[in-house]
Symmetry: C2
Subunit: 230 residues, 2 copies
């Protein structure tokens, strides 16, 4: 039987990209029933009384190196962005996450690729993720039709979409989240919660699955991986 | 040639115990020249403008589970303590870290075992680490002579020991630390800094060594470990 795993994320969060791609890659090998749960990180931080790591200068400096090493390790094409204060704090992700929420309502099977395209846009190309034009490009790259994109754009300012995103954010908070990514794995009749992209070996332990590094199709020699068939 | 690795830690920090034991276990397999750098976490948090994770309620709750799963994964006999607010915030680690600093001055080869005994005392037995009687027990279990223990106790309130600990803490801050554990690996002519106990696979990548889980002498099947000789 497939294991239900919920991934709570905001595309503003670079570590969430690592977790997202890793879970997508393990969907087959670990037989995961993967649920995408886009939420609004800014709202969650307020609810949880948590502060972005970048507000601590030494942490901000550390993250620059840590993200680059993480990109190499997780094989995710993440690059540092040029103006993190403007991009992450001033512009933020509320419009983007509303777009993802609209897609989740209208075309749920496209949520995965739309999310990925937002990360590519923000965390690889260092491009805007707040304007209608940006959403059109993301939608096109994700394979949505022009009509679907238009419909999602029109839904952005509806109460239905705003409320849905708010509810998802509150739900994440109630489930114990205090940042992104947050993972809930349903196994052995329990909910096992994980924060961050650095607990996969422990998730593997809980699920009694084999962790062979961030890319199961190409296990790294240095990662101490098994080369035997899964 | 051995790789110089510095481990900055405070025995108040449970994740530091995971990192400490893991680095000790890899000292042989990875040919590490391991430097113990005890510092005062409370002082560092002030310098860095950082807040303890426990001040965010959802984080505090998460940590309880995360530590227990970590203990299992890292094979470290850590247990949750009964009154974390009193133990970690009111009593704290300043006297303990001064004792470790005195040991570092007088009997440096005992720093490793003295540190370990503090963790056993606090994070396994849920016992005091602030009283002279506690330091005596820690010293005895670590194999220090009664005379050496007495000498270290007398040094606790000297300016020399207080200043040494303060300087180590400031040094950690200058090197970019914002919490414990903090690791500096010297490799390829550079200093590579790591925060936390969850970056060992990435440390392995940087050092071009093989990561086979937290216990190289007993690689876990579920950890996807190689069973080949290191």
């Amino acid at each position: 039987m497939a294991t239900k795993v919920e991934l709570f994320y905001d595309v503003l969060s670079p570590y969430s990209w690592f977790a997202f791609e890793t879970l997508c890659r393990y969907r087959g090998p670990w037989n995961l029933d993967l649920y995408f749960r886009p939420f609004f990180l800014g709202g969650l931080m307020n609810l949880a009384g948590n502060k972005p790591p970048m507000t601590v200068p030494n942490k901000a400096q550390y993250m620059q190196h840590d993200l680059q090493r993480g990109a190499e390790y997780f094989k995710v094409p993440l690059r540092n962005i040029s103006d993190p204060v403007k991009t992450l704090f001033e512009k933020g992700s509320l419009p983007a996450m509303r777009f993802v929420t609209a897609v989740a309502k209208e075309k749920p099977t496209f949520v995965e690729e739309v999310s990925r395209q937002f990360w590519w846009r923000l965390w690889h190309h260092d491009e805007d993720i707040t304007e209608a034009e940006s959403f059109k490009e993301v939608g096109e790259r994700a394979g949505l039709s022009k009509e679907d994109i238009q419909q999602c754009l029109e839904m952005l300012k509806t109460t239905a979409v705003k409320e849905k995103l708010k509810k998802e954010t509150e739900y994440a908070y109630e489930k114990g989240a205090f940042g992104s990514p947050y993972i809930i794995a349903h196994a052995n009749g329990e909910e096992h919660c994980f924060f961050g992209s650095d607990r996969f070996p422990i998730l593997a332990m809980v699920l009694k699955k084999k962790w062979i590094g961030p890319d199961p199709l190409s296990p790294s020699e240095l990662d101490g991986s098994m080369t035997s068939k899964l």
